[in-house]
């Protein structure tokens, strides 16, 4: 639901208003040329005109390292589940990352709900913002260019102002009472439409087949040998997994205090491109070579999870390509492999 326009000069007031009572997470300057999601000291730091961040906003719903339970050890051990229900507002989330959170909701809610994830998720107000692509973005190729209601409030840059849309009761309540909204004119709506057109036209990486065809096409390329060429320069650093907004694999470990009477069970993001990820008891490694690991990662993103949950588990954010030391782009990889004879 469109509710009005915020002149850019009043953006800080608007952000203050909708985020009242919440910890403010937003995009800020990290170092020259790079921005990041971080807890902001002040809404003045907020950067809304950006392309991408090293880590997705997922890091504030599903942190890289988190404590799952605290334990008091001994003859009568006590275990306390740690749930973080801090009210947060995450401001400046692009449509690709909003889709990614929606996909995490599905996969982490399947079979059983991950209580640690959902405690943060349900406490967070998501404020999205539209964007323009760089040469790595391909949201338009995987159906995630539009936010489609996957946040509480959404902002679109329409020149001198942001068009404000509220897509949930929480979003409406957050915006309610802000006095500075201007009327939405036909010119504003036209500017928003033109901006989306510009975004879609600016997307460079193109899948050679429609994304809907990928599960079928990839089924024919299950041999690791078919992935050798695209994986040749992969250094198995795991960056593609670790910066991915939909990757959700983790490793669990315990940290015991020096007193040996208290401990915390933690989890840390893990990734299927790392050799040790596939090391199991007995010393077996079930995906020994990097072509096999890359095959698995791509199959999972564009085939297995797509078939299981109904949408590709890649949102075209381009982070994996941006952070890959070898410059491997998933679109090129998929195009190259599916073009070869199986």
């Amino acid at each position: 639901m469109t509710v009005g326009c915020v002149p850019k000069g009043r953006l800080t007031d608007f952000v203050c208003h909708i985020c009242r009572g919440r910890q403010l997470i937003g995009v800020r300057q990290k170092e020259p040329g790079f921005v990041e999601f971080a807890e902001l000291d002040s809404p003045d730091e907020l950067v809304l005109d950006y392309v991408s961040t090293p880590l997705p906003p997922k890091a504030f719903i599903y942190p890289p390292i988190e404590t799952l339970v605290r334990m008091r050890l001994g003859t009568a051990p006590q275990v306390e589940t740690v749930l973080d229900e801090t009210p947060r507002a995450i401001v400046g989330v692009h449509p690709c990352d909003l889709h990614a959170l929606a996909q995490l909701d599905v996969i982490l809610g399947d079979h059983y709900g991950d209580p640690h994830y959902f405690a943060r998720r349900q406490s967070a107000l998501l404020v999205g913002v539209d964007c323009l692509p760089d040469e790595h973005c391909f949201c338009g190729q995987v159906g995630t260019a539009r936010a489609e209601g996957k946040c509480d409030v959404f902002l679109t840059d329409v020149g001198l102002a942001y068009l404000v849309e509220c897509w949930s009761d929480e979003g409406r309540e957050a915006v309610e009472g802000f006095g500075g909204l201007e009327e939405v004119t036909p010119a504003v709506l036209e500017a928003a439409r033109a901006r989306m057109e510009r975004k879609l036209a600016g997307i460079e990486p193109r899948l050679s087949a429609p994304v809907e065809m990928l599960p079928m096409l990839l089924d024919g390329h299950q041999k690791a040998s078919e992935w050798e060429d695209v994986a040749a320069k992969c250094v198995s650093c795991g960056a593609c997994n670790l910066v991915c907004p939909t990757c959700n694999c983790f490793d669990v470990y315990d940290e015991v205090a020096l007193s040996l009477t208290e401990a915390e069970r933690k989890r840390r993001w893990d990734g299927c491109m790392l050799r040790e990820f596939t090391l199991v008891a007995g010393g077996e490694v079930f995906r020994e070579g990097k072509p096999d690991r890359l095959r698995h990662r791509m199959q999972r993103k564009y085939n297995y999870l797509y078939v299981r949950y109904g949408s590709p588990f890649c949102t075209g954010c381009g982070r994996c390509a941006r952070s890959c030391p070898a410059g491997i782009h998933p679109v090129s990889a998929v195009n190259q492999v599916t073009a070869s004879e199986s």
């Binding site: 020096l258 840390r268 790392l274 040790e276």
Partner: protein
């Protein structure tokens, strides 16, 4: 192992920075002293005892006397833990290994070179069996505490065979190899340092040694695309890892 194991620190060829890394653990130092009984620690105390269960050994082995002494330590200690790059991989000291030992003595001591004995620098594990290695220049204090806690529980800690990149990405750093043209060795270097160098404006120089299964050829190709020659890449690999590089060259 008794409730409060006796622990000794020994130092061979190195800067003793790994002993300092232990002393720098001020916030938990008293807790450590409450958990173990330190009987020998040259950097911090004058007393010395020959009765110890865990020997933490820093420095590389680079003289015939070092060889005898580390063998003596091995005989007395239940557990030998190598700490730091020098003890785990030979470290910077092994840079001399590519030169003749007479040449090295001449360079360092001039005409008095014949007064000293030196052998190619090697990790502790090249001389005696080592139970655990905590690499890095210097050793990472947090990793040391983690290892001590595991040993106190009677468990042998196992360092994850994951690259430094994992810790770097988890910190949200911008990749200095992909974005800043730095010749970072993170992808092939074993994690555990919290990616401290790339997190503070530097890049990984491989001080923790390489993964058991490094993607070395691919990494080398990437560094060549960044403008290095093969020899320049090898020189970078040799900074902390001459000992393993020379073993690799000899085997190929």
């Amino acid at each position: 192992m008794s409730a409060k194991p006796k622990v000794a620190f020994f130092s061979f060829t190195g800067c003793e920075g790994c002993q300092l890394a232990v002393l720098e653990l001020e916030p938990v130092l008293l807790d450590i002293l409450g958990a173990v009984d330190i009987v020998s620690f040259r950097e911090a105390m004058t007393e010395h005892s020959e009765d110890y269960e865990i020997a933490f050994v820093e420095g590389s082995i680079s003289t015939p006397h070092d060889v005898e002494e580390v063998q003596h330590i091995r005989q007395r200690a239940g557990l030998v833990v190598a700490i730091g790059a020098c003890a785990c991989s030979g470290g910077l000291n092994a840079l001399k290994n590519r030169r003749g030992m007479d040449d090295v003595l001449q360079t360092v001591y001039g005409s008095s070179g014949s007064w000293f004995e030196t052998i190619p620098a090697r990790p502790v594990s090249a001389v005696v069996p080592v139970d655990l290695e905590l690499p890095g220049c210097p050793m990472d204090g947090n990793e040391f505490v983690w290892a001590v806690k595991s040993l106190l529980r009677g468990e042998m800690p196992k360092l994850p065979q994951i690259p430094v990149c994992v810790e770097c990405r988890l910190k949200g750093n911008v990749c200095v190899l992909a974005h800043k043209g730095k010749h970072c060795q993170g992808p092939i270097t074993i994690a555990g340092c919290g990616a401290i160098c790339p997190s503070h404006g530097g890049h990984c120089v491989g001080c923790r040694g390489y993964l058991a299964h490094p993607e070395r050829d691919a990494h080398m190709e990437i560094l060549q695309e960044h403008g290095l020659t093969v020899d320049e890449v090898r020189a970078q690999y040799s900074l902390f890892n001459t000992y393993s590089e020379m073993a690799r060259e000899a085997a190929s």
